[in-house]
């Protein structure tokens, strides 16, 4: 699904590829990255054309067995093409410099080239030169008044200019003197105020310098040092709170026009083309039939309007803009030249391909199965450590509580590490959750074990240190899972990102979950890229620990604008592990890729 750009770099090699969608062939050229070979694109095109033409019959008639059985002896052809390409890039006769007469400049009159501007006589005095190469000396000396400038310009032969050289020199000299006179006037003005100042050095008088400290003390002696006694100001509650009806947490209201249901059938546009060419009514009718039934291969022009519409549709569904563009680009590359089946329109083909690409994006790599991994860690007698990171206010603590509830339901004991030592009330929030969870799952029903415990060290301490202590505490006490809650931080805040990277690098958690809200739009791209970059930069290890999974929160606040899921998985290629759909403990879901894509493609 990332087929937008056609080159790939790995270590010292660069690979360029070309797809033939009609016969389902891939042509790959590899070369060393340091060489900049200009003929690669041409070579790959030539190879493609020749290979296709040579073996066209075998592809069309014999199908898969033909591919398996056939011998494709292309080596000599390829070597020949390679040689041709190399030669064509090498042979380029050094271009003969045009003589000055041939160039356009000689046709222009000098007068029109001189820009006479009032203040800045920086015109390029282009006299005609009798030299071959254009470079030398065409830039005429700009500074006027340099007598030597005039001397440098050799006498031009065959000139058509109307101003002779001397006249130009004269003009420049006048300009020069005029300017210098002005400067002289300025300089004559300046000595005067200076003379006044020279009288005597008087001490500087600061406005408040002489008054003593008492006058400077503005602090109110009554409230000094007492933190609780806030001055009882009269403030208007309504203006402070703003619009009460505004939903808290809502980022913005999307202004979008509803997509019009009427799909322009691309088929009707097809007959307009051949009929325009043939210009006959009968030709038009057959053209339409041919478009419907025959084997028509897709071209870029056919697909562009449809892709535009799909791109706008995706953006309207809250997919980040650059990702929508790249997606459409890769779909176009995948479909270009493909032969459409009977009774299929361009729109339906493109939609089908886009749907497949979206499903593919949402099911990346290995599925993260937390329970399975926890069992594995249990076997090795060590706790399974999960770290939650994300920007401010996305729901890390809430979803941490939901996940710990789910783990307790499955019989694992959880230690919550309160590594958010910055936000006011973070530790209290986790303490309340712990209390509630223990009330829901009392120790008696689990064989005397407390299922949830909070490990906290108050506020203001180093988060990485608390995490390390929590993990060793869990190992000693035999907890199965450690959930580490970190403070929310903006991706641009370099010191905080360094602190987070240090936490993760030092403690090497088993799972690093990035918590992102479903409401986010283009920001998702920026957040994830910067988080990953910070984690990669500050890690000492050979293979840095990056984000392993995504938790998509506040999913109940969007109805079908589910584009954030696509943006996030596209950027990281990591799966969405959990989806948060509310604020109670049971509002934890797993992602259903097909349902999300269906909601996304729905008009």
């Amino acid at each position: 699904e990332r087929g937008g750009n056609n080159s790939f770099t790995h270590e010292a090699l660069t690979l360029k590829y070309k797809l033939d969608n009609q016969f389902e062939l891939v042509f790959v050229v590899g070369f060393q990255k340091i060489l900049t070979l200009t003929y690669v694109d041409k070579l790959i095109d030539d190879v493609h054309k020749e290979f296709r033409d040579k073996y066209r019959n075998e592809f069309q008639q014999k199908g898969t067995l033909g591919l398996l059985n056939g011998t494709f002896d292309f080596k000599e052809d390829f070597l020949r093409l390679l040689r041709d390409a190399e030669e064509s890039s090498r042979v380029r006769a050094p271009t003969v410099m045009k003589t000055f007469e041939q160039s356009l400049k000689s046709q222009k009159t000098v007068k029109c080239m001189i820009e006479t501007r009032g203040e800045k006589p920086k015109e390029k005095v282009k006299n005609k030169k009798n030299k071959g190469p254009k470079k030398e000396g065409t830039e005429a000396v700009a500074a006027p008044g340099k007598a030597s400038a005039g001397d440098k310009q050799p006498p031009a032969a065959g000139d058509k200019e109307e101003l002779t050289k001397d006249e130009i020199l004269q003009k420049n000299r006048e300009e020069f003197f005029r300017r210098h006179k002005k400067a002289g006037e300025k300089s004559s003005k300046s000595p005067k105020p200076e003379a006044q100042k020279e009288k005597g050095k008087k001490p500087r008088v600061w406005d408040l310098g002489n008054s003593n400290a008492k006058v400077l003390d503005y602090s109110n002696s009554a409230t000094n040092g007492s933190a609780e006694a806030a001055p009882a100001e009269e403030f208007d509650r309504d203006t402070a709170l703003g619009d009460r009806n505004r939903e808290p947490g809502r980022l913005y209201d999307l202004e979008y026009e509803s997509d019009d249901e009427a799909e322009e059938e691309k088929v009707t546009q097809n007959p307009s083309k051949p009929s325009a060419k043939k210009g006959g009514g009968l030709g038009g009718m057959f053209g339409m039939l041919k478009g419907l039934v025959g084997s028509k291969s897709l071209t870029r022009e056919d697909m562009d309007p449809v892709l535009e519409k799909m791109k706008d549709h995706l953006i309207a569904k809250n997919v980040a803009a650059e990702i929508a563009v790249q997606l459409c680009e890769s779909v176009a590359k995948k479909l270009e030249g493909k032969v459409m089946g009977t009774f299929t329109t361009v729109t339906s083909t493109v939609k089908q391909a886009l749907q497949e690409a979206l499903v593919q994006i949402l099911q990346p790599q290995r599925r993260v199965d937390v329970l399975r991994d926890v069992l594995e860690a249990q076997r090795h007698r060590r706790p399974y450590v999960v770290t939650f990171c994300g920007v401010n206010g996305v729901g890390k603590s809430t979803n941490l509580a939901k996940i710990s509830f789910w783990l307790i339901e499955n019989g694992f004991s959880v230690l919550i590490a309160a590594c958010d030592t910055f936000r006011a009330g973070a530790v209290e929030q986790l303490r309340t959750h712990t209390r509630r969870l223990n009330a829901l799952h009392p120790p008696d029903s689990h064989g005397g074990r407390t299922m949830v415990q909070l490990y906290e060290k108050g506020y203001g301490k180093d988060a990485a240190g608390i995490a390390m202590e929590a993990i060793s505490y869990a190992r000693n006490q035999g907890f199965d899972v450690v959930l580490v809650d970190t403070a929310g931080r903006m991706q641009d805040n370099a010191p905080l990102m360094t602190a987070l990277a240090k936490l993760i690098a030092v403690n090497t958690p088993d799972l690093v979950l990035f918590v992102g809200e479903a409401l986010v739009g283009n920001e998702a791209v920026d957040q994830l890229v910067k988080f990953n970059k910070a984690l990669a930069d500050h890690s000492m290890a050979q293979t840095p620990r990056l984000i392993d999974g995504i938790v998509l929160t506040k999913f109940d606040t969007i109805d079908d604008k589910v584009g954030a899921a696509i943006s996030m998985t596209y950027i990281t290629s990591k799966p969405i592990v959990f989806v948060g759909t509310g604020q109670t403990y049971c509002d934890l879901r797993s992602l259903n890729a097909k349902a999300v894509v269906a909601a996304l493609m729905k008009a």
């Binding site: 389902e24 059985n69 349902a595």
Partner: protein
């Protein structure tokens, strides 16, 4: 007698049609043409979708494409990671001359489910190819994919025969089929617990609770599945490498049985 009975009917029909308006006649003819086309189309589709396919599934690099090539042509080919499916008709070597369509699906994680969706309805049998050499490392991934295949609703409904082909037996470190069976059973036992305990999917998916694999109380066993499962050892490369033949008599026999 039938022809005689039909004749007067046809005559009456003809007379009636000729008597009526020509437009009605043309409309009737058009309708008839449409109905016939529709029936033919349905028939063709039904024939096409009858289950005649044998799917080759497995992880990346298990040897599916090479097995595919060997079964069809007997020759060794250098293969690349598949990015799309390949299908061809395979004729079993015995004289029954029944044919099945072999379909080789890509094993890559982001592609495998998509292609499985496309072809699972047409599957009469499934060959799950396992890399016996890398099995110890990959056992969790193998089990996960196998689990996904087994709990799929279409697969449960059709219950195609399942053959687990332990490939790459020519390498000395390859694990035996028995060992692979035991390990898979253990892993699937754990998986069915963890997977059924996973959070329910978004908007309460229509399938309800995920299907339970095997019997609840007992440990998982391949005999508990609704379909026939067999284990066979094979080597697509063959003991003599590229020149010789592949050793997969067990596989060929099984395919002949299926066809």
């Amino acid at each position: 007698a039938m022809a005689g009975g039909l004749e007067p009917h046809l005559e009456a029909l003809r007379r009636e049609l000729l008597a009526s308006d020509p437009t009605v006649l043309s409309v009737l003819l058009a309708l008839l043409a449409v109905v016939i086309t529709f029936l033919i189309w349905r028939f063709v589709q039904a024939r096409r979708s009858s289950r005649k396919a044998v799917l080759l599934l497995g992880l990346c690099d298990a040897g599916k494409t090479l097995l595919f090539a060997r079964l069809l042509t007997g020759k060794y080919r250098d293969t690349q990671t598949s990015i799309t499916d390949s299908s061809a008709v395979y004729r079993a070597s015995n004289d029954k001359s029944a044919s099945v369509t072999l379909i080789d699906l890509p094993g890559h994680e982001s592609l495998r489910l998509q292609f499985l969706e496309r072809f699972k309805a047409a599957a009469r049998a499934i060959v799950f190819v396992v890399d016996s050499v890398a099995f110890q490392r990959e056992v969790k991934d193998v089990a996960e994919f196998l689990y996904q295949v087994l709990v799929d609703s279409t697969v449960l409904k059709n219950a195609p025969a399942l053959l687990i082909a332990c490939n790459k037996q020519d390498v000395t470190m390859a694990k035996s089929a028995k060992l692979i069976q035991q390990q898979l059973e253990k892993e699937l036992n754990t998986l069915r617990v963890t997977r059924s305990a996973a959070p329910t999917s978004l908007d309460g998916s229509s399938t309800g609770a995920p299907a339970q694999l095997g019997k609840k109380g007992k440990d998982f066993d391949f005999s508990q599945l609704p379909m026939k499962v067999e284990f066979v050892e094979c080597s697509a490369r063959g003991s003599k490498g590229e020149e010789g033949d592949a050793d997969f008599e067990g596989l060929e026999k099984w395919l002949a049985k299926i066809a």
